[in-house]
């Protein structure tokens, strides 16, 4: 009989500027995860995947997985490893866990991710971000801190497709409003279009609310099979139907599109993930896309096939990303408002999709049966997609 991977449950700690150590954040997230699955004990978990990128730089800690396993009281026997794909680390862990449980090499894997980015002197995190892109060829030009790269991306989208600043502001407004009642979010305030348009400049055309904050935080989820999940939960199963991770370049000079607003690698990732999940873009009822910047969400809704290429600005500006719209996006507040502790983000996105598909999300999308998560990482170097559904792929 085939084994089908499901997300059994999950949780996150409070995200923001946290008075805590990296290992504290992982413990808080693991507790939130187990609180979501009454009856599950640490001893039921046989595998651990830890997604973190800045542990080495900001917490002076490499080989993170054994450290976290010990703090969480886990004794893994199938897998105990760290993965580092920066902003996609959490989603990468979920993809790996799917393969492990479906192949029978693991039964119950905790996928957790987290970062402690604020150091006692603030310069250090910004300085260390030079490592988040190809250091010697992009980082040294000051491309590690991402606003300039995405400012160029926004300018090229404006030039080629006629989108405008108001479209970007509409994304901030939607995502901040989704997060305004999310107690785990870094930003918990409603935002008006006027406030978003009047915000201070970061790098033109990007202003304050176009950029996700720097965030401390962690999240954790459990990936197992539907057969095993039956013993722990009466909730509807949330299957991991199809995944893809596409990398065509790392150095920005080798960007694969015709220009920075043409995301060929996202399109390939979407095609592969939809084919593996046996769904089409029109089947997706809710999505969590990588809104590190508002312009990213505008381009992602295009490349994921929710609207025509070039129409992302209009799609977001006409409220199609809000509940009641064509595809509600980032319904828990996204990176813009919940925050972005790199390795944790994909897990946070997966948990929100799980809740949507189980009918228990804060901003519930009616009859959600297919959901999608998407991450980009590096200097727009890699794209990662996971498609979730109420039914397994047949």
């Amino acid at each position: 009989m085939s084994r089908n991977a499901v997300m059994l449950g999950g949780g996150q700690c409070k995200w923001g500027v946290r008075e805590a150590h990296l290992v504290d954040l992982f413990q808080e997230a693991a507790k939130a995860c187990l609180d979501d699955i009454p009856g599950l004990k640490p001893s039921d978990i046989d595998g651990l995947i830890v997604a973190t990128s800045y542990a080495g730089r900001c917490s002076f800690q490499v080989n993170t997985a054994p450290v976290i396993a010990e703090r969480l009281g886990l004794k893994p026997t199938s897998i105990c490893t760290r993965c580092d794909t920066l902003c996609a680390g959490g989603s990468t862990g979920i993809i790996l866990a799917k393969g492990l449980v479906e192949s029978g090499n693991a039964d119950m894997v905790m996928v957790t991710g987290g970062e402690k980015l604020y150091t006692p002197q603030k310069w250090e995190v910004f300085y260390s971000e030079l490592a988040s892109v190809d250091h010697d060829w992009d980082g040294v030009h000051g491309m590690g801190l991402p606003p300039p790269f995405f400012a160029l991306t926004a300018q090229e989208h404006f030039m080629h497709y006629g989108s405008k600043k108001e479209d970007l502001a509409a994304v901030s407004v939607a995502n901040y409003n989704y997060a305004s009642d999310n107690p785990m979010a870094q930003m918990q305030k409603k935002l008006t279009l006027e406030e978003a348009m009047a915000a201070p400049t970061v790098v033109p055309p990007l202003t304050l609310y176009d950029c996700c904050p720097i965030t401390d935080g962690a999240a954790a989820c459990i990936i197992t099979t539907d057969e095993i999940a039956k013993r722990f939960s009466n909730r509807p199963f949330v299957y991991l139907r199809g995944t893809a991770q596409v990398c065509l370049n790392s150095v920005s000079a080798n960007f694969p599109g015709a220009h920075l607003a043409d995301w060929k690698h996202t399109r390939i990732a979407a095609e592969k993930a939809y084919a593996r999940a046996k769904v089409s873009p029109g089947d997706v009822k809710v999505a969590q896309t990588h809104d590190c910047f508002t312009i990213s969400e505008v381009i992602e809704v295009e490349e994921l096939g929710f609207c025509k290429k070039g129409a992302g600005g209009e799609f977001c500006g006409s409220k199609q990303i809000e509940v009641g719209g064509k595809v509600p996006v980032n319904t828990d507040g996204g990176l813009l408002a919940v925050g972005h502790p790199f390795g944790a983000t994909g897990i946070r996105q997966g948990i929100e999709i799980m809740k949507q598909l189980q009918g228990r999300a804060r901003h519930q999308v009616k009859d959600a049966d297919i959901g999608l998560t998407h991450n980009l990482s590096g200097a727009n170097a890699e794209h990662t997609i996971v498609i979730y559904g109420r039914e397994p792929v047949k």
């Binding site: 040294v140 030009h141 000051g142 160029l152 000079a253 920075l260």
Partner: protein, 165 residues
């Protein structure tokens, strides 16, 4: 209040906190790129077997995996396709204005090179402007050479700058 450094690191050089590349040939097989920069040349590697030119320079050809590579010159002048300008809140290591541009150098693999533009006052750059390679000194890096003691490896790096009209 000024902050003193970490006492045990007094007189030591933490290269992992140096923002520039470790360019010296003792640590980097692409060292000729930096030596060529010192001569004002902007270069990358070309495969002598299949002809593929790739940027940045490598030690194997990404197309045929040959190790038979040579350095070849890239154009040093190009046109600004699009640029961004950061005036406030420029990160440590950079001066205001911090300008980034996509520069078209006219040939693959540098038809869309993302680079920094220097020697350019805020508010003066325009799309289509001609820019050229600008090489500048960066701090030398101390390298331990056993009994020979510590040598200072001289370094340069590059950006682009407007061509004066």
């Amino acid at each position: 209040m000024s902050v003193t450094g970490i006492p045990i690191l007094d007189n030591l050089y933490p290269a992992t906190m140096d923002m520039w590349p470790i360019e010296a040939k003792e640590f980097n097989r692409s060292w000729p790129f930096y030596e060529n920069l010192k001569q004002g040349r902007f270069t990358t590697t070309k495969c002598k077997d299949c002809g593929n030119v790739s940027y940045p320079p490598r030690v194997i050809c990404p197309q045929c995996y040959s190790e038979n590579l040579e350095f070849t010159d890239l154009p040093k002048k190009g046109k600004v396709v699009v640029f961004s300008e950061e005036v406030k809140g420029v990160p440590l290591g950079f001066e205001s204005p911090l300008i980034h541009a996509v520069v078209d150098l006219g040939v693959d693999p540098v038809k869309r090179l993302l680079t920094r533009i220097i020697n350019c006052p805020a508010g003066t750059l325009k799309r289509g402007d001609e820019v050229q390679l600008a090489v500048f000194d960066i701090p030398a890096m101390p390298i331990e050479k056993g009994r020979a003691g510590t040598i200072m490896a001289e370094r340069v790096f590059f950006a682009f700058e407007p061509v004066k009209k």
